[in-house]
């Protein structure tokens, strides 16, 4: 299977590449339109700050390419957030794939949320063989609000969307590549969608 990780200069993507390697898949890093378009599966990662990451996407034209992709696409962490309408982080527009906004956690909780939390109300084949309330590793200061595209929720001060889906587009707030065996199962499921 031809898996491409979108490489637009955002953060630690080696971990994701290694996670696929542990599953026996040699995932390619690329920012080329043709390479991404021809992939069987596309991973859209992201670590860092939303407005500067969005600026990098715009520079390379990837912000118009990604929403047009037809194969399964998985946004991870900031990647998922950039697939939403807009983010309070740097007050940037996103790609508008998921019809939801990204907000900052209130100071009633420690920010960033850092560590293992459960994912609840699982509603997709992406979570096949993953139990309800499974633990995933999260590290983030901003969150997507609940909406009807939500396929998993988590609770940190209040409930928020920890995974989203629209058609062939999936997004997860947690890091499957750092979430032990359950995370590996999720990546395997994504390959089998």
């Amino acid at each position: 299977m031809n898996v491409v990780i979108v490489d637009y200069g955002a953060g630690n993507i080696k971990s994701i590449q290694f996670a696929f390697k542990r599953l026996g898949i040699d995932a390619k890093l690329s920012n080329h339109v043709e390479c991404i378009t021809k992939a069987d599966r596309v991973i859209f990662p992201g670590v860092g700050e939303a407005s500067s990451a969005m600026a990098m996407l715009e520079q390379s034209g990837l912000d118009t390419l990604i929403p047009q992709l037809k194969q399964p696409v998985l946004g991870i962490c900031l990647g998922m957030q950039l697939m939403c309408n807009a983010s309070e982080e740097g007050y940037t527009d996103g790609m508008g794939i998921f019809d939801v906004n990204v907000k900052r956690f209130s100071n009633d909780v420690k920010v960033p949320q850092m560590g293992w939390n459960t994912i609840d109300n699982l509603k997709s084949d992406l979570f096949r063989n993953i139990r309800e309330h499974e633990f995933m590793y999260l590290i983030h200061s901003f969150y997507a609000e609940m909406n009807d595209q939500c396929i998993a929720t988590s609770t940190y001060g209040m409930n928020y969307a920890s995974a989203l889906r629209k058609d062939n587009f999936y997004g997860v707030q947690f890091h499957p590549e750092k979430s032990s065996l359950a995370g590996e199962q999720l990546l395997k499921n994504f390959l089998e969608l």
């Binding site: 630690n12 700050e49 850092m114 293992w116 633990f135 590290i139 200061s141 609770t155 590549e177 065996l181």
Partner: protein
Amino acid sequence: MLRKRIIPCLDIKNGRTVKGINFKGLRDAGDPVELAKQYAHFGADELVFLDISATIEERKTMRDMVLKVAEQINIPFTVGGGISSVEDVAQLLHCGADKISINSSAVTSPNLINELSSKFGSQCVVVAIDAKQVDGEWMVHLAGGTIPTTINLFDWAKEVAYRGAGEILFTSMNNDGTKLGFANPALAQLSKLVNIPIIASGGAGSTEHFVDAFKIGHADAALAASVFHFGEISISDLKKELNKNQIPVRL
């Protein structure tokens, strides 16, 4: 609900673990990758690798080690020790480290915290603080606790949070190595003072000490080295005990 984290810390020199590690079933106790795998298997929530190398050559070996750990370990890990520039951090993150921790370099050039958090994001910037209580006041110490400063622990904690640190790793020099428990009153004060996660370090000797660090010290995570390395406390038993004591952990 977010769980409390248990973090084993491994000291690394020239790409190998140091301090006698007495772990049953390990083929090579000096191999950080094998030890890390074992800890991940028994439920460690994260790992910290502290580079205590003295030479540039040894530091290069550290980057190779980071790459190998990232290749084989499926939980997050932090790398600390001797990091003093944006370039150092870029290289370690590029090798697959999830977070980096800075200590003395943050005190000598506090702006490094701002630079790192704006370039790489707060989430990967851990500021480690070593402090000692002298005449009732908690003072920051440098270079593994050997050099005293005139900086107050709580003032410094507020400043590093303000400058963009994503987490504080607080080691009490008074407690470190004693196995008499963590510095819970100082931990509780830190946790109230800043709105970023606090990792407790220094003093772990028994399961009850971890319970206290979470219940009395309100720590978000607890770090220890020797009690885990010598098999005095097993991580899986520890987490079961914490769970029995109504402390939310990942089981």
